[in-house]
Amino acid sequence: MIQANAVPAADGVEERSVIVAGDYLNKLSGEQIEYECKRRLAAGCKELVVNFAQTELVNSIGVSILLGVIDIASKNGASVVFSDMNEDTVELFDMLGLTKHVTIV
């Protein structure tokens, strides 16, 4: 399940978007995240926050899609923030190099 909370900037453009990943970041929810992110970036968003508070496991498809999000964001001059990851997820992202491209909070 994805819940997206946007923080609108003063001029009305959502400069910072928060996207909550589901409890299991698999193919389906992964693609929803990708779709959400693309939509926000197209709307002028400059900072994407992916919240992993409800995420226990991320599989390879999830990793791949997050890599895609990082790629698109950098092409759009936006930054990516991963928040509330559990220990396993941090370690996985660290091992695969995702953490090099994002800010972790």
Partner: protein, 438 residues
């Protein structure tokens, strides 16, 4: 399937952990490939799994067309819209890739091959590092293009092993798809061939029918019309396309035995005598003899010829069969045959008015004709007369004036009511049919 990623493993060294993560992806890939997803979807998911297993930023998977010598992209991740969708291989490239087998090629070190020279800029711009020819059973079926890793580090030998293992899976999926396409093409060719044979058979049958009709100058077109009437009856019974065709063929050929009957008997402009009649009555048996050795796509054709002069009441010939002893197809042809005899001019008898013909059919239910066949036939006629169907089969076969005779619609309607399954008359007819068998 979930990725094997558990806190129990967090104390293992980094490489073990990576291997476990990648193994989870491999397991999911196997699952994905045996799934009934679309081919495109399978390859797209497989590319995701491979990228996620190792942490690859960008990549693509392509299928190889050995006829066009082209790699056509099936799934792409992050290569941009201007990356070529189709990449050509030279014979030299093909040869080298086959020799290389399913192993990753470092693009930076393979610049001697024409392929990497031609697409040099495209590959360099996207930071593509590995090219993996998917060689399955000594045939190139596709390729993987893999970009840099998220860590920015070079691919390790163990990661290349994972690329090989997963590439193997993807290659097999493509090979399987190719095989399926091949089978489908063969099936399609086979179907076309069968259609051609069937239409040839039908042409031959019609030519035969015309030849039979030639011999009988007074009943010109009889066999062809009986074929068409039989077809109408079968289709009104709701039979399938092939069965309807079979009924038509049975009608076309029912009088094939007349080919051996002397022309003067067939064309006699008077009622023939007993001897001549005996000669003419041989035609069903002779027809059976002629048709029996031929392998027909529809099994009952010879039987229709043999028994089209039998009657439900047992007063027909050649064997005097009764009721259910008569093959169903023969009953259809009998009705079509009698109907044509009544509705065409004969040397000694003018055609009868449509109303009389309807009365005759009704009067002979249970004696000569099966009730449901008469109902189906008249039902089809009524539909056409009332304009409930666009085809004009009866008008075309019998002439417009004949079919649109005054009061004919009402006549058929009342007849159909009288012979409806609930009416006493049908009951009697049906009972007669059954009683005569025992």
């Amino acid at each position: 399937m979930t990725t094997i990623h558990d806190s129990r493993f967090t104390n293992h060294d980094h490489d073990d952990h990576k291997l476990i993560h990648a193994f989870g992806a491999l397991a999911e890939l196997g699952h994905e490939i045996t799934n009934k997803n679309s081919f495109q979807e399978t390859i797209r998911t497989s590319l995701h799994l491979l990228s996620g297993a190792i942490g690859i930023m960008r990549g693509a998977a392509a299928r190889y067309s050995r006829y066009a010598h082209e790699l056509n992209l099936v799934a792409v991740r992050g290569l941009g819209d201007d990356f070529p969708l189709s990449l050509t291989l030279t014979t030299e490239d093909e040869r080298q890739f086959l020799t290389n087998g399913l192993h990753p090629i470092e693009i930076a070190e393979a610049q001697v091959l024409p392929f990497f020279q031609i697409y040099d800029v495209s590959f360099a711009d996207r930071g593509l590092q590995l090219f993996v020819p998917l060689v399955v059973r000594e045939e190139i079926v596709g390729a993987l293009f893999l970009g840099e890793k998220a860590t920015g580090e070079a691919y390790t030998s163990y990661e290349k092993e994972i690329v090989c293992a997963m590439g193997q899976h993807i290659g097999v999926a493509i090979a399987q798809r190719n095989l399926m396409a091949e089978i489908e093409r063969h099936a399609e060719e086979n179907r076309q061939l069968f259609d051609e044979m069937r239409s040839t058979y039908h042409d031959t049958v019609k030519a035969f029918a015309a030849a039979i009709d030639c011999k009988d100058k007074y009943t010109e077109g009889h066999s062809v019309r009986v074929g068409k009437f039989s077809e109408i009856i079968a289709s009104e019974l709701g039979w399938g396309k092939e069965e309807v065709e079979g009924a038509a063929v049975a009608g076309y050929l029912h009088d094939v035995g007349k080919l051996t009957v002397e022309r003067k008997i067939i064309n006699a402009p008077y009622r023939i005598n007993a001897k001549e009649s005996a000669e003419l009555n041989k035609h069903p048996g002779v027809g059976f003899e002629i048709l029996q050795p031929i392998h027909h796509p529809y099994t009952d054709v010879p039987l229709a010829a043999k028994y089209h002069h039998e009657r439900l009441d047992g007063r027909g010939y050649p064997d005097g069969l009764k009721g259910r002893e008569i093959p169903y197809i023969a009953k259809i042809v009998t009705l079509a045959d009698s109907f044509d005899a009544m509705t065409t001019d004969r040397p000694y008898k003018a055609r009868r008015a449509a109303r009389d013909v309807v009365d005759d059919l009704k009067g002979n239910i249970g004696r000569q004709f099966s009730p449901e066949l008469v109902t189906a036939f008249l039902g089809g006629m009524l539909k056409e007369l009332k304009g409930e169907t666009t085809d004009k089969r009866f008008r075309r076969l019998l002439g417009r004036d004949y079919m649109e005779a005054e009061g004919i619609v009402e006549k058929i309607r009342t007849t159909l009511n009288d012979v409806a399954p609930t009416s006493p008359m049908t009951y009697v007819a049906a009972a007669g049919d059954i009683l005569q068998i025992h």
